[in-house]
């Protein structure tokens, strides 16, 4: 293999920065120095599409209007569990303005339930049954109301703990397949194991299965913490709902999708309609938030396409707010039993975890790997069960499982620290072996002024202050199927193309930065064309994989294109191209300062209209932990929370969060801050506010709207300060990773620990509401 050796920055500036030599493929570009020495990487570069966003010109999927376009609405079940005996569409059909109606019919498969029924069995209230396309959305809605569905109702179960009981109504009589929505990474949930509604357990992850001997571990322990923690179901509620606009013409089906995974939507649509992938084009220029729930074409995608085919017109199908809450994903609940043993010196001897959670009719309600990997412990075992209920399916949500898991683990570690009479931060210094979290604890604690923390419940007065901390880890995932094309156009102009989408994280901007840095140009000189599956396939925006997966091939393709351009200049100058460079838009020569040519002039030397280079993600330097793309290292974070609790009213306010994070080489500081703010605010919301309320008697969600589904608005937003720790590990040509998941994992745990510090009573369940505070203080029963 053709390799060469190169020296890379390694470690954390201001802490342990050094150099490391790596043997890398010969075609990889030379090592970038630390950010201080770069021009546009690691700087506050303004978002390249911000102008479109602040002027209202950004066209989202929901804003699309094609000539002749029809508007579609889904027909949904009004009951939670039933067989459908008949559906009468005659009245809807004759309504003026209605162009097409489609009912979802049962795909009969051997061994599945209800195989003789014409329509699929209803498993939750809100399940899609069909759709109508009409000349306006109002007409489509009217038509839906005219469709008569006859149900043969079956007993149903909503409450998770009741669903676990023997004799509870059974949601599925048969084994169900693992839910794959492209957003979760690596968790295995097997719906064929287990009894009744309780499926599983899942006992292992890609970090391995159980280790050591738990009984021995707890025998060796001097202290044990044994608690049960509970978390609620909450829904993603992206501002733009799920949906598509489908324009199906003779030779290609174009799907404008509000998605975080254009490539996956293309694959699903091609699969459903038996089309070659080359004949399905998925486009997503702007999308209004996803947070994990928008990886799939769902049932709305195929529905819109079918209606487009039936009517011969483009079809717009965006869900409404209620449908979004009910059908398009949620973070599953959890009831987690956790037992942790430690010796007097604080060292951990055993961690036992057992969880039950419900993702409704879906699977994937685990609590992640955080208890398995955050702190080294020789003896560990987990059992994670899925409980099926007649409610809408869960979906990946920032750091699937791990947010729930962190809420339990990081409180238990605090409880252990207290039993050991140790400061929670100092205790983590003792048991946490991560170098980056050590630096984050130091820098975060200094900014937060952790030293002012008082013993739990010791505050005077009605309003008590509390300080708390929580930590997290997230793997460095790399999607190897990540490709880009970089083009230099004759006469100037540089373009990058990929199917990867920007879901609001700023992917477009960091791609422009990487190209600009490598090409010696400014960010404004780079045109980013992404979110289109007619371009090379990029990763889905999930698992914080995008930056780590797509920026190295972006740099590499740019490097290759640049080399080709420099060869043309070298030929003209009669020099060796390796002696040439581009800086500030000028081609120059390393030793002969008289040789200069503008980038634009250089491109005029091209024989063809373009230089085009395509690159895909290469293996990490030094390889992976797992060959499928589990990189070495992790994305460690530490968050600090300050809360005020009114002990008379139970009112809680999060006053401040300090969020200390690492993501390898940071690419864009402003955008990183933004994304961390988002993770923190969603964490505040999870800890204190949001909660899907289901009616056990009818199976309907009671707060499927914005006004009764409480999330923080401006008055509830705490002061947030971020600490971004540069951490170089010399694993790729950019050495950069994402921040989406890490930003959201530790917040709820930090807040719960701060609430305990304020009132001196620990609350093991979220959301922590005024009512739960007053109950904890024995002020109400």
């Amino acid at each position: 293999m053709d390799t060469r050796k190169d020296k890379f920055p390694h470690g954390i500036p201001g802490h342990n920065l050094s150099e490391i030599e790596r043997e890398i493929p010969i075609e990889e570009p030379p090592a970038w120095p630390v950010n201080d020495k770069l021009k546009v990487i690691g700087k506050r570069v303004t978002r390249i599409d911000a102008l479109d966003k602040v002027t209202g010109k950004a066209k989202f999927t929901s804003d699309m209007k094609l000539p002749g376009m029809l508007y579609a609405k889904m027909l949904r079940s009004k009951v939670p569990h039933a067989n459908i005996t008949s559906i009468d569409i005659s009245k809807a059909k004759s309504l003026a303005g209605v162009h097409a109606i489609h009912l979802i019919e049962n795909v009969q498969k051997e061994g599945e339930e209800n195989k003789g029924g014409k329509y699929p069995q209803v498993k939750y209230a809100g399940q899609p049954l069909g759709g109508v396309a009409a000349e306006s959305l109002e007409i489509a809605k009217d038509a839906i109301k005219l469709i008569e569905v006859n149900y043969q109702n079956k007993p149903f179960i909503i409450d998770m703990e009741k669903a676990m009981e023997i004799g509870a109504p059974i949601v599925f009589d048969v084994p169900i397949a693992q839910q794959e929505d492209g957003g979760d990474v690596g968790e295995v949930h097997d719906g064929s194991k287990g009894k009744g509604n309780v499926r599983g357990p899942s006992t292992s992850s890609f970090f391995g299965g159980p280790r050591g001997d738990l009984a021995k571990g707890f025998e060796e322990a001097d202290l044990v913490v044994e608690k049960t923690y509970r978390t609620q179901v909450h829904t993603h509620m992206p501002l733009e709902t799920h949906g598509v606009v489908v324009d199906w013409r003779a030779d290609v089906m174009t799907v404008y999708a509000s998605t975080q995974n254009t490539a996956n939507v293309r694959n699903e649509m091609a699969n459903v309609f038996n089309l070659p992938k080359s004949k399905v084009r998925v486009v997503c220029e702007y999308m209004g938030g996803g947070f994990g729930a928008k990886h799939s074409a769902g049932s709305f995608g195929p529905m819109a396409a079918t209606l487009a085919k039936k009517s011969g017109r483009p079809v717009w199908l965006m869900l409404d707010r209620q449908e979004e809450h009910i059908s398009e994903g949620n973070r599953p609940s959890s009831i987690q039993y956790l037992k942790i043993g430690a010796k007097k010196d604080g060292s951990l001897t055993g961690i036992q975890q057992r969880s039950h959670g419900t993702a409704g009719v879906g699977l994937g309600a685990g609590v992640g790997r955080i208890a398995q990997v955050l702190y080294p412990c020789p003896n560990f075992a987990t059992e994670q069960y899925d409980v099926l209920t007649n409610a809408g399916p869960g979906a990946a949500w920032r750091a699937p499982g791990n947010v729930q898991g962190a809420f339990g683990l990081e409180q238990a570690i605090d409880e252990l620290a207290e039993k050991l009479n140790k400061d929670p931060l100092k205790y983590r210094d003792l048991i946490d072996k991560s170098e980056v979290r050590k630096v984050e604890r130091q820098r975060g604690a200094a900014l937060f002024d952790w030293s002012r923390r008082q013993p739990a419940g010791s505050g005077k007065g009605t309003v008590k202050k509390g300080l708390g901390v929580g930590q997290s880890t997230w793997p460095r995932f790399v999607t190897l199927d990540s490709s880009v094309e970089v083009k230099i156009h004759k006469g100037g102009g540089v373009e990058i193309r990929s199917s990867v989408q920007d879901i609001g994280t700023g992917t477009k901007t960091v791609l422009a930065q990487v190209v600009a840095e490598e090409m010696g140009l400014e960010v404004k000189d780079i045109k980013v064309n992404i979110g289109d599956t007619f371009f090379p396939v990029g990763p889905g925006s999930g698992g914080s994989v995008v930056t780590g997966s797509i920026t190295p091939p972006t740099r590499n393709a740019t490097y290759e294109a640049k080399k080709e351009l420099l060869k043309l200049v070298a030929k003209k100058w009669e020099k060796d191209s390796s002696e040439l460079f581009i800086k500030d838009g000028q081609v120059g020569h390393k030793t002969d300062a008289n040789l200069k040519m503008s980038f634009k002039e250089a491109t005029k030397l091209m024989r063809t209209s373009q230089i085009s280079k395509t690159a895909s993600r290469s293996d990490d330097y030094g390889g992976f932990q797992q060959p499928w793309g589990l990189a070495f290292g992790d994305l460690g974070s530490v968050q600090f929370a300050e809360v005020s609790v009114n002990t008379d009213t139970g009112f809680i306010k999060v006053d401040k969060i300090v969020a200390a994070h690492s993501c390898g080489r940071p690419l864009n500081i402003g955008q990183l801050e933004s994304q961390i703010h988002g993770g923190v605010i969603q964490g505040v919301s999870y800890a204190l506010y949001e909660n899907r309320v289901m009616d056990n008697g009818t199976g309907h969600m009671m707060n499927a709207n914005v006004d009764q589904y409480k999330v923080p608005f401006s008055m509830e937003i705490p002061e947030i300060e971020t600490v971004i720790v540069e951490e170089y590990s010399a694993r790729s040509s950019t050495d950069a990773y994402g921040i989406g998941e890490p930003a959201n994992i530790a917040t709820a745990a930090a807040i719960a620990n701060a609430v305990y510090n304020a009132i001196g009573v620990r609350i093991h369940e979220i959301p922590i509401t005024p009512s739960s505070i007053l109950k904890a203080l024995n002020k109400v029963s």
Binding site: A58, G670, V711, S714, I717
Partner: protein, 211 residues
């Protein structure tokens, strides 16, 4: 209902007031509102006046948006948000909750912010509508828009038009707002990405530049 006179020659049995349309009570037999030549549209082409009754068929009305008087053919059940988005293709105004609880659809009526999803297009009358598309004047951004760009105050961008509308209104009417004022001005604006801290910073910064 007493204040609405029944128009002679209209279809009295079908006539439904705009308010009952907004309650979602009406079932329409009207045809397309999308086609440019709308066979069902009654040629009205005036600003609707309070006290008159219309519907259920579409009629052509006038509305002044961002300084330009537009003609549009709409059913009385049409909200202002829908008129802007679906009829005038001013899609910067977003519909998120569709029941007045998220402010994504904020526009100004004679300079005052309103939720356009909660307003019948027939209630606009002669008032002038300003949308996000009308905030930059002659290609020049409002200082709030400029500050939003500089402080990275948008993420996915879906709440951004509504946020900008709330913050522009504050900055144009309060020369020296503090953080509390900005929070109050945006307290109805739902954002799920968590842009709030940068929105606050941007707006405070913009207010300094407008003095």
């Amino acid at each position: 209902m007493e204040d609405k006179k029944q128009e002679s020659g209209s279809q009295p049995k079908k006539a439904i007031t705009r308010r009952s349309f907004l309650r979602g009570a009406g079932l329409s037999t009207a045809g397309s509102v999308l086609l440019t030549t709308n066979a069902f549209a009654i040629d009205y082409n005036e600003y609707p006046v309070a006290g008159e009754e219309f519907g259920p068929d579409a009629i052509t009305i006038k509305m002044k948006v961002n300084g330009i008087t537009k003609s549009l053919s709409v059913e009385p059940r049409t909200t202002l948000a829908s008129a802007l988005r679906d009829h005038l293709e001013l899609t910067g105004t977003k519909v998120v909750c569709d029941r007045g609880s998220c402010s994504a659809c904020t526009v100004y009526l004679d300079g005052e912010p309103v939720n356009s999803c909660m307003l019948s297009v027939f209630d606009v009358g002669e008032k002038e509508v300003t949308t996000i598309e009308g905030i930059a004047k002659d290609g020049e951004l409002h200082p709030v828009q400029q500050a939003f760009i500089e402080h990275d105050a948008s993420q996915c961008g879906y709440c951004t038009p509504g946020m900008v509308m709330s913050c522009v209104h504050l900055v144009d009417n309060n020369t020296n707002p503090n953080l509390e004022d900005v929070k109050k001005a945006t307290r109805g604006n739902l954002c799920r990405c968590g842009t709030h801290p940068h929105v606050f910073k941007a707006t405070l910064d913009a207010s300094k530049k407008t003095i």
